[in-house]
């Protein structure tokens, strides 16, 4: 008989802080946008670095770590090595993120402290995941994606720490060489490969898709891994050839992944375009738009194109892919904790009943408009337009936080 993954699932009280804090950091990230102006919107400005870390560490990483606490036993079919370790991860990640953001914005001396705190949180996560993977006898492609992603995360945070020490003036290293390696390891290597692997489990599960091959996923993950290695290599050899080859591989990897996603979408049995489907449609079109802008940047070299590509990849692709999945994962966690013991004894809600229709729709609508307006504002370097987009996003983010609390408190 097939092993029963839910045996190993962590308690809801362990996972819920990741989702609550992650959603609040999403709101903070949007508020931060109001402090970004045409003057400080450059790749290495403190405001941009602060914003990127607030969003990526506070929202993206926080939610991914919480989701992984729940999904790793499902995907790996073994229990966690030490699930209690997750109780230490969210407070450390939260404090470290805040210190790092303050460090980037006003107090560079805080950067090493924030960096080390984040490093400890991520190291606990990585070690826990590695020791959990060690229990698996045979790795499939999804399990391998978790392993590969976490190796890149380890490499990425080491580069990040070295950068934090250089940024604070404690050691003297080439920050721009480290930056490219750090960004590609964490974004391409960890976040993207994690989303690729997990989404190929979750998309067919929620859409009831069957009969597709996982070969494109294997190719996409292989190419993305090679892309990250080439870009890291280019940082330290100053090889433009390696660098551009890395970019080309990464673009091809994402396009192949998108090809698989659209096959899953076309073969789904559930045709309803619910809030989950809407979120993912926006996410994947943002990804394609981001790739288009990044390609254009490589041709014409206009920096706002790169910033726009980054924006669409972060707030468009990562943001909507994560919020969309939250509308599926959180109701399930709450239902499992609160209602599953009542099945057969009294009427229990369906998972769809636990979703706040108005606030989730408001989040998708306002954040969708906000993402597009801010993307245009970045390209035009227009302060007023950034604030206009941020205003849409603020309403959307507030609706998102409201949705999280609604789902978590559903009785």
């Amino acid at each position: 008989m097939f092993s029963i993954s839910q045996d190993f699932a962590p308690p809801f009280k362990l996972i819920s802080p990741f989702f609550i804090i992650g959603s609040i950091f999403y709101l903070f990230s949007v508020l931060f946008l109001f402090f970004i102006t045409g003057e400080n919107i450059t790749m290495l400005s403190g405001a941009v670095l602060g914003f990127v870390h607030l969003f990526l560490l506070g929202f993206v990483m926080m939610i991914i770590f919480g989701a992984m606490a729940q999904l790793v036993p499902v995907v790996l079919e073994v229990g966690h090595f030490g699930v209690e370790l997750f109780y230490a991860i969210w407070p450390l990640l939260m404090i470290g993120t805040l210190l790092m953001v303050l460090g980037f914005v006003s107090y560079p001396m805080l950067l090493p402290f924030g960096g080390v705190t984040v490093l400890i949180a991520i190291m606990i996560f990585i070690v826990e995941i590695f020791l959990t993977i060690k229990k698996v006898l045979k790795l499939n492609i999804i399990m391998s994606s978790v392993l590969i992603a976490n190796i890149f995360l380890l490499i990425g945070i080491i580069f990040g720490l070295l950068m934090a020490l250089s940024y604070a003036g404690i050691i003297n290293l080439n920050i721009s060489a480290l930056l490219r390696s750090h960004v590609f390891s964490v974004i391409g290597g960890y976040v993207t490969i994690t989303l690729m692997g997990l989404s190929i489990v979750l998309l067919p599960m929620f859409g009831l898709s069957h009969g597709f091959s996982l070969k494109p996923l294997k190719i996409a993950i292989g190419m993305m891994s090679a892309a990250v290695l080439f870009v890291i290599l280019s940082s330290f050899t100053n090889s433009v050839l390696f660098e551009y080859f890395g970019y080309l591989l990464a673009t091809a990897a994402l396009l192949i992944y998108f090809y698989l996603v659209q096959i899953i979408y076309k073969t789904r049995a559930r045709k309803e375009i619910d809030i989950y489907a809407k979120s993912l449609i926006i996410a994947y079109f943002s990804m394609l738009a981001s790739l288009a802008l990044a390609t254009l940047y490589l041709i014409v070299g206009y920096e706002p194109l790169l910033l726009g590509a980054g924006w669409l990849m972060f707030f468009g692709f990562f943001g909507f892919a994560i919020t969309g999945h939250i509308y599926k994962i959180v109701p399930f966690l709450v239902w499992f904790e609160r209602f599953s013991p009542l099945v057969g004894k009294q009427k229990v809600p369906m998972l769809a009943d636990m979703l706040p229709k108005k606030s989730s729709s408001a989040q998708v609508l306002f954040c969708g408009v906000g993402v597009v307006v801010v993307a245009v504002a970045i390209l035009l370097k227009d302060d007023m337009l950034i604030k206009a987009g941020a205003s849409f996003l603020l309403i959307g983010a507030a609706a998102f936080v409201r949705s999280i609390f609604y789902m978590i408190n559903y009785k």
């Binding site: 097939f2 839910q6 499902v74 009831l208 069957h210 049995a269 399930f332 057969g344 229990v348």
Partner: protein, 100 residues
């Protein structure tokens, strides 16, 4: 003791909370039989191997069958061959899921 249809009827009280249909109309129950000693065998699958409700759904199936009079034991055989797909579901399920 009980026919396959009677066992399926009992199992049809188990609803998948994600899709809102019962396991029988979803086509997830492949076979069921009962011997004279009250021992029931249920052959079933799930819509995906990654389903986080594996254990719960099997438990609900067991409980639904154990509610029938004189049933003493329920054995569940969770299989992945043949792999489930939407063509195995009842027509009204297919129609409902097909609505965009």
């Amino acid at each position: 003791m009980y026919s396959k249809e009677e066992l399926f009827l009992a199992i049809s009280t188990v609803i998948d909370p994600e899709v809102g249909f019962n396991l029988v109309e979803m086509g997830l129950i492949y076979d069921a039989s009962c011997d004279d000693d009250g021992k029931v065998y249920v052959k079933m699958t799930l819509s995906t191997k990654a389903c986080p409700m594996h254990q719960l759904i099997q438990q609900w199936v067991k409980e639904a069958v154990l509610k029938m009079a004189n049933i003493k034991e329920v054995e569940i055989d969770l299989v992945w061959e043949p792999e489930w797909n939407i063509t195995m579901a009842d027509e009204h399920v297919k129609k409902a899921l097909n609505r965009s």
